[in-house]
């Protein structure tokens, strides 16, 4: 079913060799929080650091030229990975959160010289969804607060998908921005981006896509997605922490005011005034995350070598297996859609009468690392009347046996707590 050899992939991840406190092997089902790094990603960073490390775009010496080539090469590679028409559309940020903040701040910072469609002002509306990660919600709340715009949201159905019934009244001529997740980090739901981008474009609104969870799991092509901005994090797709990507249409980036200001993003600086460089430099203030960009490009290479179609198939099969196993257990309620093509990567569930923290503790005692809580999607959990969920997420190194161990261990946890019932 999986076209790559998962055992060979596992050998590339040094951390999978470790055992835990009780001697158990590590079953890492928390890739949705942060993924592990294969050796080639670590090696790429170390090779750079021990050979060509230097400040980029500044020096006239050989090391600086090598470093600049490596850094700009990483940008070009990420552009390719995402199907970006131009490498200059790739802006490196510290994480997806900063990428989303960049867009939200810049849309609020324009002046008379900024095109109208790139400005959010009083009376405008911003549309998000009830399933958003805090990273794609709070920056928009703050933008609304600063500008006097109104924040609205697409609600969720009982089936764990977006409720588009009232889309016509939510997405109107007043809407400047539609910001939403490509894939929910809790539900696993993949949203109907094509339809929504088209609807947004029809009313002249920009679409901002949070692709944090989809980027590691499926082929992405920004041209096909059709959005105006796409944000993702390196550490969720086998790359380093401390690096994220904002992709944006060049014509937008070229007309937007900067976010962070300082060195390397300027054109001319006087004491009392400054003009700014073209994108992407305009949005990369200060010394960038150089070795991290190189590590991220190596992660993209690693995923591409496996093939994103194969990666998607692998993740889909594991998700199905986990869902089929878990839903048989008494008192377990899956928080997410039934198995199907538009749901992958994450399996979250609630247990009747048991707090997720307690479930997670039992799993941990058996070497199974999952995440518990609201997963930075508090409104989503409130919508379904639960304080939190237990969430298992999969990666390219996850095996069917590990999924079975998860199901077994949840069953064990039910028994464990059952004895006190």
């Amino acid at each position: 079913m999986t076209s790559f050899d998962v055992q060979r992939v596992r050998a590339d991840f040094p951390i999978l060799q470790r055992t835990l406190a009780g001697g158990e092997p590590l079953v890492y089902l928390d890739a949705g929080a942060t993924s592990q790094r294969p050796q080639p990603v670590i090696d790429a960073e170390v090779a750079f650091l021990t050979r060509s490390n230097a400040a980029v775009k500044r020096g006239a010496h050989q090391l600086a030229e090598e470093a600049t080539d490596a850094y700009e090469g990483a940008r070009a590679r990420m552009g390719e990975f995402l199907g970006a028409p131009r490498p200059e559309e790739i802006v490196f940020t510290r994480n997806a959160t900063e990428a989303l903040n960049l867009v939200a701040r810049s849309l609020g910072d324009g002046d008379a010289s900024t095109p109208d469609h790139l400005r959010v002002r009083e009376g405008d509306e911003i549309l998000v969804t009830e399933m958003e990660h805090h990273a794609n919600l709070v920056p928009w709340q703050e933008l609304a607060r600063r500008t006097g715009a109104r924040l609205r949201w697409i609600p969720l159905t009982d089936d764990f998908t977006l409720d588009l019934t009232d889309l016509g009244s939510l997405l109107t001529e007043r809407t400047r921005v539609l910001a939403l997740a490509h894939q929910s980090n809790v539900l696993g739901t993949v949203n109907p981006i094509g339809t929504l981008v088209e609807a947004a474009r029809a009313v002249g609104a920009l679409t901002v896509l949070d692709a944090c969870q989809s980027a590691p799991h499926m082929p992405l092509d920004v041209r096909e997605l059709g959005a105006d901005f796409v944000a993702l994090s390196g550490h969720k797709m086998l790359g380093p922490t401390g690096i994220g990507v904002l992709w944006g249409r060049y014509e937008h980036l070229a007309a937007m005011p900067p976010f962070l200001t300082g060195g390397s993003m300027i054109e001319v600086v006087h004491m009392d005034r400054t003009t700014y460089a073209e994108p992407p430099a305009r949005f990369e203030a200060g010394t960038p995350m150089i070795s991290q960009a190189i590590g991220l490009a190596a992660a993209a290479d690693y995923l591409s070598a496996l093939g994103m179609e194969a990666v998607a198939e692998h993740g889909g099969a594991l998700t199905d297996r986990a869902l089929r196993g878990l839903r048989e257990l008494p008192g377990v309620r899956i928080i997410g859609p039934a198995p199907g093509p538009d749901r992958t990567g994450a399996v979250s569930f609630a247990v009747e009468g048991r707090h997720p923290h307690d479930i997670g503790q039992v799993l941990d005692s058996r070497g199974i690392a999952v995440r518990v809580g609201h997963h930075c999607a508090w409104p989503l959990h409130r919508r379904y009347g639960i304080p939190g969920t237990t969430r298992a997420t999969f990666s390219v190194h996850t095996t069917a046996e590990e999924v079975d161990a998860l199901v077994d261990s949840v069953s064990y946890a039910l028994d464990y707590f059952g004895r006190f019932a």
Partner: protein, 153 residues
């Protein structure tokens, strides 16, 4: 394999989790506080009533959370109600110290009573916050009550 688990989840923890002492919000009270644990969404609303002389007359609460955090609220209320503020302070300090010791300080059952059972969580840094939430809420309520009646704590 689950040895670590049994340090955490003892019978007494589950007794308090199932039958929490002093639960439910009661009147009258001098201060009410609402605390959350932002990482897991656990919540507690806690009310404090003090006697004129300064003793803890009542602690009532509503707690939403894991077994550890609910048991902790229950045990704390049992332990502190009826104590003088000085005694309550001594217990709270001793408990917080043991809880932050990563297991090095096993706690004195004379002082902490049932609550020593909570100290199993001291070895699980991710759970320390669950256990301490109720105690922090008590502290905050104390500060608020002081502020309200103008007497320095």
């Amino acid at each position: 394999m689950s040895s670590g688990l049994d340090v955490l989840y003892t019978d007494i923890i589950f007794e308090h989790d199932k039958r929490p002492q002093n639960a439910g919000l009661r009147e009258p009270f001098h201060a009410e506080v609402h605390h959350v644990n932002p990482t897991c969404g656990d919540e507690i609303t806690l009310r404090l009533r003090r006697q004129p002389g300064g003793a803890v007359e009542d602690i009532s609460y509503e707690a939403l959370g894991c077994a550890m955090s609910r048991a902790s609220a229950s045990m704390m209320s049992e332990l502190l109600i009826g104590r003088s503020l000085a005694e309550a302070e001594e217990i709270t300090v001793a408990f917080e110290a043991a809880m932050s010791s990563r297991g090095r300080d096993a706690g004195d059952p004379e002082v902490l009573g049932d609550a020593v059972a909570l100290l199993g969580a001291a070895k699980f840094p991710g759970r320390v916050k669950c256990v301490l939430m109720a105690w922090k809420a008590y502290r905050a309520a104390l500060v608020e009550a002081d502020a309200l009646d103008g007497s320095a704590g």
